[in-house]
Symmetry: C2
Subunit: 225 residues, 2 copies
Amino acid sequence: MPDLKVEQPKSLVAIVEERLRDAIVDAEMRLGETLSEEALSEALGVSRTPVREALARLQLQGLVTIVPKKGTFVFAPTEEDVSELCVFRYMLETQALRECMSKAREAALAAMKGALLAMETAQANGSRRDYARADTVFHEVFFQHCGNRYLGNAYRGVSGRVAALRTHLSVPLEGEQERSMAEHHQMVEAFAAGRLADLDSILHRHIMRAWHAYADVLRTGAVRG
Amino acid sequence: MPDLKVEQPKSLVAIVEERLRDAIVDAEMRLGETLSEEALSEALGVSRTPVREALARLQLQGLVTIVPKKGTFVFAPTEEDVSELCVFRYMLETQALRECMSKAREAALAAMKGALLAMETAQANGSRRDYARADTVFHEVFFQHCGNRYLGNAYRGVSGRVAALRTHLSVPLEGEQERSMAEHHQMVEAFAAGRLADLDSILHRHIMRAWHAYADVLRTGAVRG
DNA sequence: GTTCTCCAGTCCGTATGCAAGATACAGGAA
DNA sequence: TTCCTGTATCTTGCATACGGACTGGAGAAC
């Protein structure tokens, strides 16, 4: 028998979850904004049940906060949150890279280069959203090739917040995107050469710089966007 | 005003989730067993809605597997699963211990000693279930004091599986519990003395030994418990 | 005896209805 | 004016109803 596999149609819950996730990550909604199950179900053209279930899942990803009998809100990170998230993220990524390098070096390298290309294209087109998306893909590569599903799951659990912070709190600082691109290039080079220590330090610098930028934006209160 | 706070009654979802989690972790159900939303809702005396939501949460913790239109099943780990889980777990715990030691050494130490005491009590009483629970508490201490909520969340995401494996796959090997107790004692000592490298190696040995034991049980197929 | 087909039973996915808690605001008392 | 209080209206929590999809077995055709 040839391998005939049909993909199951997505459930409404999955569709709603994805749509809401994109809306939050792509900054179509403001941080802290109130969401009503009923209003969402109406806007999306489905009943409250799948909306409710999708919101519950998003809560577990930290993208929304559900307060019993009060309402559901887009997450609103504190400075401390962001700090802890960055530390955690560095920890996961450095571990994943380690595994990648020993287990699937070539495949990972190819995928990283692909994502890098997408970033360059987005930069050339001047699309900040596409750049942010490609950036997200770049970091996801580590987990797709690390060979440990638990590591990937853990990352998926925070990747939404990471991606949302990227779009909500990144300010177009002078030369920022260039610095970011340069660091990604350095990471690929270090990875290709197997220089794990260098890779670690670049990644550390990369994430910590992002953290400082986010923290600044949070402090100055320029958080709506 | 005196600080009068009433504790909110837990939602049905939370109650059901906890109950089912306990049932799985404490081996009241067999691995791979079929669960029907309707049967569960009847057995628990609630409607399908909260049961369904609780099952969705348990799926994200890896304790059940939901197959669309077919049914829900208690998770059934493969040997590979267990291996990856152990690697991941070691990674999380070693990181958490590192943070504990630098941030909340005294508090963590006290809590570890408390859990150790509970383990000794359980061992004296010959209660394997209580011992397993105290063991679980011991390892949770690392995350309660590490000061990073994301690290704790990630652990909570797998702690159910870890605990379930402990009860389902642990066989009462000759002298096993003694070895386990000894290793926990060593961990506390190394932690108290601030010997991080030793701590790491003990933890590594501890987790990997558990892994071998689980893998053996899985291979021999003596998995129903 | 083997294989195909049909059907009944069971499961989940979704929609909807009702109850209870939270909030905001208007209106009355001091 | 200020403060309290009752109520209208919002929210979510949970129960229930219905329909589609899947599964397993009985019976017919070969």
